[in-house]
Symmetry: D2
Subunit: 342 residues, 4 copies
């Protein structure tokens, strides 16, 4: 069975990552690639690494015929995305990779993103796309909101622990290190090579990064009361990858056991043996998450380290995993690519 998909925002990194993954997916074919500013160009011009593929030329969304399309990946900025998804035919399955539909509460969206929600009525039907925790809802969803890549990493580490009540939820610290591609292909001075190279830089300091809104929403829902974690992202000189170091109050053995229970049947989540911790590069280019637990010299303190690839498991791989579910395919189809190392 073959399904036809369209990718909106194909000239960005998450769009290109969708194409890369679909290239070896046995049941999907690309029917349309959209990118407004680069409409008319061949994909081999915009992303020469995809030169070997027989791809449609880039086109404007408004010039696109969606009648033969089964599912759309919308890899657009969150502002336009709400408008554009709203304008798509109502029978299309949609996976939105932006922040446009991640927050259930439209007021929260306005507060964190500084603009009113452009499609609050659609928001109501959107399912939060963290596959391992919303699997059943995603299967029957029409609109799935891909998670923030940082938000995904933090949730893989913290959701089972908060749900099981094995850590102090008033003292959670997440120190995150992320590569450049998470910020997209936008032209910003701090993303220039000469600025990032041989550098590390904290940003959105003081727990004000927008992905914090997802933590607030999801962790508070899990705990049944407000949870506010401390969260500091750092930009590191890597093109891909996220690694988080979580400082928690709890018992290391109990924490590890909780992960083993939560992830026993998850094909993409690897829980490491006690005392081992993943490296950022262990998952590069793949849909895997690695999680490790280490007890601290100080009793009652535990460190959790987790790693994923922001473009794969953190966005486009997650999107494809959700697409598999929405289309009735085996969840892991096309996603078992091994990480590339070194």
């Amino acid at each position: 069975m073959t399904y036809t998909v369209a990718i909106l925002g194909a000239s960005g990194y998450t769009g290109a990552e969708c194409v890369r993954l679909i290239a070896t997916h046995p049941n999907l074919r690309i029917g349309a690639l959209c990118a407004d500013r680069k409409a008319g160009q061949q994909m081999s011009k915009v992303f020469p690494h995809l030169r070997h593929l027989d791809l449609p030329a880039l086109q404007r969304i408004e010039d696109t015929d969606f009648s033969g399309i089964d599912l759309v990946f919308a890899a657009l900025p969150h502002g336009p995305s709400q408008e554009i998804v709203k304008a798509l035919p109502r029978d299309l399955k949609v996976i939105d990779l932006s922040a446009g539909f991640r927050l259930r509460d439209s007021a929260a969206f306005e507060q964190w993103y500084g603009q009113p929600h452009a499609a609050p009525e659609l928001q109501a039907e959107a399912v939060y796309g963290l596959t391992e925790f919303y699997r059943e809802d995603i299967k029957s969803a029409r609109l799935v909101a891909g998670t923030g890549c940082n938000a995904a990493t933090g949730q893989f580490a913290l959701r089972p622990l908060i749900a099981a009540g094995v850590i102090d939820i008033d003292d959670i610290i997440v120190d995150l290190k992320a590569g450049a591609s998470g910020a997209g292909r936008a032209l910003k001075e701090h993303l220039l090579f000469a600025e990032m190279f041989e550098n590390i830089k904290g940003y959105s300091l003081g727990s004000v990064h927008r992905h914090q809104a997802e933590f607030d929403q999801e962790f508070s829902k899990l705990a049944g009361r407000p949870v506010e974690i401390q969260f500091t992202p750092h930009l590191v000189p890597s093109s891909r990858g996220i690694l988080i170091t979580c400082y928690l109050k709890g018992d290391a053995e109990q924490v590890l056991r909780t992960y083993h229970e939560a992830y026993a049947n998850e094909p993409f989540v690897q829980v490491l043996p006690m005392g081992e911790a993943p490296m950022m590069k262990d998952v590069r280019g793949s849909n895997f998450v690695h999680i490790g637990v280490v007890g601290d010299r100080k009793p009652g303190r535990v460190t959790v380290i987790a790693a994923l690839d922001n473009l794969t498991k953190g966005s486009s791989g997650q999107a494809l995993q959700n697409a598999n579910l929405m289309l009735g395919l085996e969840e892991t189809t096309g996603l078992m690519l091994a990480p590339i190392y070194p």
Copy 2:
């Protein structure tokens, strides 16, 4: 149909790359992983990025039962490799990724590698493994000698031009830039991160790099008389990738036309439009070669740029491509992975 393979030297980069590629190959399974110094360890300890795979533990070659093995990938240093391949059961198909069997003339091996050939009788049957040019021989070979990764890159750029007689073969210059993994996982001071980072370093200057021996052998055979190119490799701060810039005397249009003819039906070789040139990262993690041609301001001079991934098309991907041929499988099976970018 499933074939069982063994990988000798599984704790090195080319060995691990074989595992990565086989992980999503539909017709191969790994029956044994050998690594003498790390025998007894799990692969997940030596290469944690392969943690999700169900792999046999590392073992010594002498403890390995090859009776159920169809084909061996020998990813060992060239010295031991000649001895070890000689000792393998005679009915085993073998792909040797070292320099042990690349040079048809055992005297040339001794001259370039500073030691006598340990298996000259086997050398006689070894087929040089540059798939696109030795395809038919490889199909029926028992022992295939994988090429040097630098040597492969140079040959993709130069073989068609020398064969067609469209360039001056007495004035060929190849300036090569290669990432660190080509040197393997050996502990050498110049391969330390702090040494290579923010650095570029020429080595084996004066056209004395060992892969030069492959150029001598292959180009002289093609031309029917001795050909000696000038070849300078440089170590660049990348983990993977080779990019060569070739300075040639010839006509750009004729050169491009020659490539189009030579590579018209090659699934892994992409010839770019006139005036465009590949970047090193365009092929990362994939089995593709990209080649571009640019005419120089100076009449009669042409620049050719070619790129491949040293660990994939330059060694382990090439090996798998040959394995497919030797086992009667479709040549591209398991090798159509798209490059990972950025």
Copy 3:
């Protein structure tokens, strides 16, 4: 006035950094360069970037005449260093950059470093070399123990706050990111370029890094009772630089005010305006420390970020600053080099 110095361990990174800084120091000349394994070689062979300097050849320590030497920089591993410093003429001023003399308690040394202290009698006279806090003792010291580079960074951030009692000393978390050169020029697999590139890796997890011993010693002394911080170092793909993110319980305004008071007259410590944070590269190649304070969304939580260059302010620059004091020179002499950016 010119003083003559010798550098022991001149073939390592901290030794070479001493040479770099002395090269433009107006009052110091290099009388001897020692490096046992490379004795007999020219420095231009071992470190070609120093080629323009007229330097003595490398020699064995036992072949060195110390009679004309005023001060020795010992940039050796901690084990040999204790023995070698003990054997030096008693009238020589010595700055030891190893961990050999950092811990006042020889039992603590044995516990953390796994070997008995080889010169406990010398330990008694050693002054801990964190200049800004031991300035007067250093002026009259004969033997100064350079601090750990990680330990220095943490202390610049935490000492004033612990001393002033403005943070909860039972809940201090330091997440550290450090470049490769802190591990020296030793041949270790995890320090290879291909391993570190595009990677981040936590190590000595669970607050068991050896520099923790310096934190224990210094912070407990300051607080008048045992203080145990949580400390996780990470190896990041940079050749130089340390950046720490400290998660503290306290008031941001009070924390910033405390820094302003503590560092008002310190030429090398730059306190940033409220809400700004340093980047790792802001201090590269220089003797400066940058410290920034950001209040968290969560009341009573504050994040402190500090950065220094491990080879300069973290070791060889600190050593030169101490040498200036020990020799009666102006403390900043030769050390006002601006950071190199980008």
Copy 4:
């Protein structure tokens, strides 16, 4: 004796490098820093690594009083620079770091840069700023045109050989590798971290890079007849540094001897022993040039490798060297900083 300088374009990399070098120059003080778009900002905001310096705030050029200024460094784009330098008081000494005044022939400027020369009358008095070869003219010049950074590197390698007639001037090939900062702080997609990282990319292929115009001008003048070299620059993942590999026809011994004669008394040019070659990082952050010569296996062929730091010797260090000469100071003043390694 202290001279006061102004820096126009202080918010760019070459402007900031001027500030870095002047910071420890004993005879220069900074009277004004100009940057139109960032006028009103503190330098510590634009370049936090310069935070420790007491610098004037950035201001507009038209708001600047040049009455107390002795010399101006104009680190602006070439278009505006011609206009702005023309408008400066006639008695000001000026060092222009742009391409605005490098080409003696205004028609050549128009041809290579695609716009008419805005100050052809000033062009007549401009002296080409390659210090080692125009030293006497620079001493008495009012307006000095800093060279292109790539052009400087190529000339250090080739000028002595062309002048001495020891190489075939019709067959000169220069393969250049350059870090990102040579392209400045401009926002361009190919300069983003995620694009450049783990990548190598040739550009201005076919010998059409604008610095080629300087090669044409200078080499043809030296040879007394037109000389056209082949020149291919590559962008490499480094923030600083240029390394060139030159493929020449000549005798290695004679080439090396020629360098020794040409550079015997040059404080900043280091000629390496026969067979050794510099690495890019050997000169980072310094005003030194390293040159090495290797004979090729092929008789009559020789490879020359040269390295310099594009921001220092390739632009701002060169500018300061020229400023020293123009102000009657010792040429090396403030410029003997040792390279930073690793």
